[in-house]
Symmetry: C2
Subunit: 352 residues, 2 copies
């Protein structure tokens, strides 16, 4: 087993902020980006946490991410806006878009923002949670580098196009769905290949498009599978329409492929972000009381023998966050070392 180091949340957050400031991000922007990275780690979504910082640092230095973007409103109405975020770090772009969606939803019942010319934005749950904190329902989807083919195809056209919803509850934990539209993400397949384990047949295809249980075959030219075959593919098409086409940004194979260095390529990721004002439909406490009632009903279900517990979307992550705020965030040696190297390289005083 790989060695694990424990970082304390505040120290890790301060380190990320200082690193981003060294990389020329304004103080406030650095805090927003750092918050969303650390939040992902707190919830156990390590693939979208501080592990990304060294890559972001490279992109910020090489011009593929812009540390001081000039975010422009291209078109706007009371309830909608199209933003060109000028190659901003996606985490910042998504947070700004959700702030705007929430502010529009306050007056116009709903706010829908599309974002063009963005980059990798971390875990969508961070932004739909912003809506929860303002007593609203949040929704976000994002396109990304083309790695998954259309259903039945072998040409890489889509990212794992994630969907996230944030739904406030009353006394219960809020509901935070954040899912790729593919069955399994790359991380799990890589881990199985390292451990020499087989993977379930519905996770991925080999290079010829045949379902395979061999993770090595997936990693040498194979493809992820969509949830429910044509259904997950259908959701991914909708993502590319909402986040890519409707933002006026990149879609399909226009986006930069998932491999560094990006060179002079713009990454051209797009987001679709929405906030829904619950008070436009019913008093907030009535809504949250009904959500609590639904959650309790589901958790009281009779269980399949092998299941310990019925969980709601996001529950595991929120409980992990509570735990990790006390005990710290575990980082594997490789990530730990890369961050320590970055610290030296940027000559940062904060440590973690």
């Amino acid at each position: 087993m790989e060695e694990v180091h424990i970082a304390q949340t505040e120290a890790l957050r301060n380190f990320c902020i200082e690193a981003l400031i060294h990389l020329r991000a304004p103080d406030g922007d650095a805090a927003i980006i750092a918050d969303s990275m650390v939040e992902a780690d707190l919830r156990g979504v390590g693939t979208h946490g501080v592990l990304r910082l060294p890559g972001y640092a490279r992109m910020l230095r090489e011009g593929n991410m812009n540390p001081q973007p000039s975010i422009k409103v291209i078109q706007e109405s009371n309830s909608t806006a199209v933003l060109d975020v000028d190659n901003a770090v996606g985490n910042l772009a998504a947070a700004r878009a959700m702030e705007l969606a929430i502010s529009k939803a306050r007056d116009a019942s709903i706010g829908v923002i599309t974002v063009r010319n963005s980059t990798h934005c971390g875990a969508l749950a961070c932004y739909t949670t912003m809506a929860i904190e303002k007593d609203m329902i949040g929704f976000m989807t994002s396109n990304g580098p083309p790695i998954v083919p259309a259903y039945g195809g072998k040409t890489r056209c889509f990212s794992t196009n994630p969907w996230s919803f944030g739904i406030p509850a009353g006394e219960e934990l809020p509901i935070v769905l954040d899912m790729a539209t593919t069955v399994a993400a790359g991380g799990k397949i890589r881990v199985a290949s390292i451990k020499g384990e087989k993977i379930p047949l519905d996770w991925a295809l080999d290079k010829d498009g045949v379902p395979t249980d061999d993770p090595v075959k997936v990693m040498s030219g194979g493809f992820y599978q969509w949830i429910g075959g044509p259904k997950g593919y259908g959701l991914a098409v909708v993502t590319d329409v909402l986040a890519g086409i409707l933002s006026g940004g990149g879609f399909g194979q226009m986006l930069a492929p998932l491999k560094e260095p990006y060179g002079s390529n713009l990454i051209r990721q797009g987001h679709f972000v929405a906030a829904l004002n619950i008070e436009a439909f019913m008093p907030l406490t009535e809504f949250t009381g009904r959500v609590d009632q639904m959650i309790r009903g589901l958790k009281a279900s009779e269980r399949i023998n092998s299941m310990e517990e019925i969980r709601l979307p996001g529950e595991r992550g929120l409980k992990m966050k509570e735990e990790r705020l006390k005990s710290g965030i575990p980082l594997i040696s490789q990530v730990w070392d890369e961050l320590k190297n970055l610290r030296k390289e940027l000559n940062i005083s904060s440590d973690f």
Copy 2:
């Protein structure tokens, strides 16, 4: 193989309208309901087509569907409304809600309508297509009778909670996604059991919650499986929040179970319907041109050997509609006979 009869579209539509008028629906409402039933059959979604008419007739006569509902606006803003549809036939309720969403989106960029106290509403594609016809993006999801448990559970809490998106294209066919959040619907499992065939292991569980390839075990107390396990379950939770909780209507096990007679039970289905005005984001022709470009890109993909063609969501149904408008709608004997019996029973002059 079961015997098949061919009905001509116009004759079938006129028969449905006359039947619904005999069942006390106003002329205009009868036409809306008939249109959506025939539309489902034209697109090959027979499970949501005229096959439903005899059941609707029973519910209309027994008071579980209201032929002359008084649809009330409970709460309203420029961009949102909550409707109580007074036990209307769901097909009518959904069409009225989408009309209202479209009209709000015309002025307010977006319209979001929740609907309470509705009933079975047929194929969601019929309503998201209404948005396409007005050059908008349509979205709809609906809850329904509790038949599928939470992920890991054995208590029936949700319907197969479908999601539909309608997206206009330019010269290409529009994109119409309409999918259950479960892998397979009941119809396919029933057909496999009749034919004595096995089903894929990811379609359903037996009564103990163990994946099974035996359709008979599914039909005797088993359960459908969610697409992507916890992911499809997560989408179904979101549906119940949007269509059930946010409409102020029934959710979870409050809804009447899927078995007739319903007796004095209200069905209490809820819908969530939205229309998004494309012009709030970019000129329509720019949008449809980009959608065409995406469609052509996907269709030009290199294909897996076993695949004839890369399809877009809804493409097969729209091509089938074109064909069936010429050749007629095939109905299996059982459906044909039930409709002919209904014709006699209601003493209807129209034939098909």
